[in-house]
């Protein structure tokens, strides 16, 4: 029983990171109907930026919450900018070119970031500095919670709450929902669609950057190809929750994290990667719109 609770806790921690990445996929899909396959690489760049910021500021030797907040802020800003550049350079010129051409530029951007990463950062894994010194803050029998887990969870929850506020309560959020609902109609109502799209990329990329830092805290080995699998799985999480749905991405991410941890803990770690895709295929066959998605009638 204790073991199960421990596994659930680990799963929720890991799942909150998936959820942060999944949000970027789902928001971009919402406004553009584009699967942004370069998103996993933005998450990698987030972790890398965090690594270098922490080293330059000498934070590795002086752990603390203020340092973590600073690293998060720098990395989120840098990746927000990166997201804006990616949208402007690789996707906007193809806005009217159908759905497949941007998919290929997304693959191109993803390759570009991976290879730039390997050139600039080196292909060898790096160890993310311990911005928070690992301590156990709670123990009851076999159940233990570390302060790192707590930091990851709290940061993820705060960021998601902030996102929820932006999407539901601000003018930008309303514009984003309008574009996602019907972009041409939103444009006719005076919503600056291009600016909303770029803003969506910035928001999504910032969350991915935060996910990169949080992964660095809990699982310090980072390398330029680290974005591939988590990126794809976060995408699965977005589909699981209902692609295009913001609460769906959160729930999908948490669910996927928990399921993966349980499979690793109780079945076999070799099937860990397969389970995400089995869930994906099953969900697509029985409920393609995911948990929170609205069924859409096909438009001619």
């Amino acid at each position: 029983m204790d073991n199960l609770i421990q596994q659930l806790l680990n799963g929720i921690t890991w799942g909150s990171i998936y959820a942060l990445i999944a949000l970027g996929y789902t928001m971009v899909y919402g406004v553009l109907r584009l699967i942004n396959f370069a998103h996993g690489e933005v998450y990698m760049m987030g972790a890398m930026t965090g690594y270098y910021t922490a080293r330059w500021l000498g934070l590795a030797t002086a752990p603390g919450v203020a340092g973590l907040a600073l690293v998060l802020a720098v990395s989120m800003l840098a990746c927000g900018l990166l997201g804006a550049v990616i949208e402007r350079v690789a996707y906007r010129p193809l806005r009217s070119a159908g759905r497949l051409a941007p998919l290929i530029t997304a693959i191109g951007v993803s390759l570009l970031l991976q290879n730039t990463g390997q050139l600039v950062f080196g292909a060898d894994p790096k160890f993310f500095p311990a911005l928070v010194r690992s301590e156990e803050i709670f123990r009851s029998g076999a159940i233990a919670i570390s302060n790192i887990q707590l930091t990851v969870l709290v940061t993820a929850v705060v960021l998601m709450a902030a996102l929820e506020y932006i999407v539901q309560r601000t003018r930008f959020g309303r514009a984003m929902r309008a574009v996602s609902y019907d972009a041409p109609a939103a444009a006719l109502m005076g919503v600056p669609v291009d600016r909303v799209i770029i803003g969506t990329f910035v928001l999504g990329s910032m969350l991915a950057a935060a996910a990169g830092i949080l992964v660095g805290l809990s699982n310090p080995k980072i390398e330029p190809l680290m974005g591939l699998m988590p990126g794809l799985k976060a995408f699965v999480a977005a589909v699981l929750g209902g692609i295009g749905s913001v609460p769906g991405a959160m729930v999908g991410g948490l669910l996927l994290g928990v399921i993966e941890t349980l499979v690793t803990g109780y079945l076999s770690s070799t099937y860990r990667d397969a389970i995400a895709f089995v869930i994906l295929v099953v969900i697509l066959l029985y409920r393609p719109t995911g948990i929170f998605g609205q069924p859409q009638t096909e438009k001619a």
């Binding site: 397969a274 895709f277 697509l284 001619a300």
Partner: protein, 342 residues
């Protein structure tokens, strides 16, 4: 047989002989690259049938390629080595290999096609992005499933060497073989899509509802495209396994699937020659750029992005460089003579 077709046949024969002799003159590095280009062409052309001509969007092609590679490799290692040994006793060595190698290729293709059918029937109900995502998932499931089969090496990879018949060379790295198969695949798919019945594929691509109202069994057409496509993906995988001599599931991940999709979209959806050119250029490019050292993959990805932005419809759009559409039924061609084709 007309004189023109005799000349063409002779030309093809000469080309095959030249390809057969070429490896002796070239260094092995070039032979490997040329073989990979031929295999990439087969993969690209087979995916073009589904993505370009039938308008469905599959991004799990590498899964079928991997299945074909592993099935054919297992066939060769566990059954073929003995058979080849026995054949070698009865026939001259070259002839024995020529007789033997179609079998693993067909075996790889058949297993991949069977998997293609299993994947196609439920998933082809899905449309657009959902289909793409489902095929991506299916491809990864296939790869991870293979990774967990110990008889084909699991995470260690799988070498084409038989423990029972250590003297038998199971590798097949003849360029003539690879390009001969590639020519057959191109001809088969060109005939399928450009003959009269091939219009059904393009009708489904253009408007599924309209196609259905004209009496086209759209589900059947889609499943057929998927089946043929996965069969040839399996053949490409089988050629890959036998020319490399060692395979690992890492070669068949979604990254490879994306690569094949790139060939198809960059070449032009609905153009066989486009897929061929893109597959050849994009497979050769990283090798040609090798002089740039670490910068080569960066340049490669920049070129990919630039090419897509400059030619969103792909290099060739829906046109063909060579009269591939004439491989279709000759009667249909005569009827259509003088009539401009869409």
């Amino acid at each position: 047989m007309s004189r023109a077709s005799l000349v063409r046949l002779a030309g093809a024969g000469l080309a095959l002989v030249a390809l057969h002799e070429l490896p002796l003159a070239l260094n092995p590095y070039f032979v490997t690259i040329l073989a990979r280009i031929g295999i990439a062409i087969i993969a690209a052309v087979s995916l073009q049938l589904v993505n370009g001509f039938t308008g469905q969007f599959s991004i799990g092609h590498a899964g079928f390629m991997g299945l074909g590679a592993y099935a054919s490799a297992a066939f060769s290692v566990y059954l073929g080595a003995g058979a080849l040994d026995a054949l070698g006793g009865a026939l001259p060595a070259g002839l024995a290999r020529l007789v033997y190698f179609p079998f693993p290729l067909v075996c790889g293709g058949a297993v991949a096609a069977a998997a293609g059918l299993v994947v196609a029937v439920p998933t082809l109900r899905l449309r657009g992005d959902y289909l793409a995502i489902a095929t991506l998932g299916a491809g990864e499931i296939i790869r991870i499933a293979i990774l967990n089969v110990d008889a084909v090496g699991g995470a260690r990879g799988f070498s084409l060497a038989s423990a029972a018949h250590p003297g038998v060379d199971l590798r097949f790295d003849s360029l003539a073989g690879v390009y001969g198969v590639a020519a057959l695949v191109i001809a088969a798919i060109a005939r399928l899509v450009y003959a009269g019945g091939g219009l059904a594929f393009r009708a489904v691509r253009e408007d599924e509802t309209a196609a259905e109202s004209l009496g086209i069994a759209t589900t059947r057409v889609k499943v057929e495209a998927f089946l043929v496509s996965s069969f040839f993906a399996g053949v490409a995988g089988a050629l890959f396994a036998h020319s490399e001599g060692y395979i690992h599931t890492n070669s068949f991940s979604f990254v490879r699937s994306f690569e094949i999709v790139t060939f198809v979209v960059l070449g032009g959806l609905g153009s066989l020659s486009g897929a061929i050119v893109a597959a050849a250029v994009l497979t050769a490019a990283p090798e040609l750029l090798r002089g740039l050292g670490e910068w080569r993959m960066i340049l490669y990805s920049l070129l990919l992005i630039a090419a897509m932005i400059l030619r969103p419809q792909g290099l060739l759009g829906q046109r063909e460089l060579w009269p591939l559409s004439r491989i279709g039924a000759p009667e249909a061609r005569e009827k259509a003579d003088g009539v401009p084709r869409a």
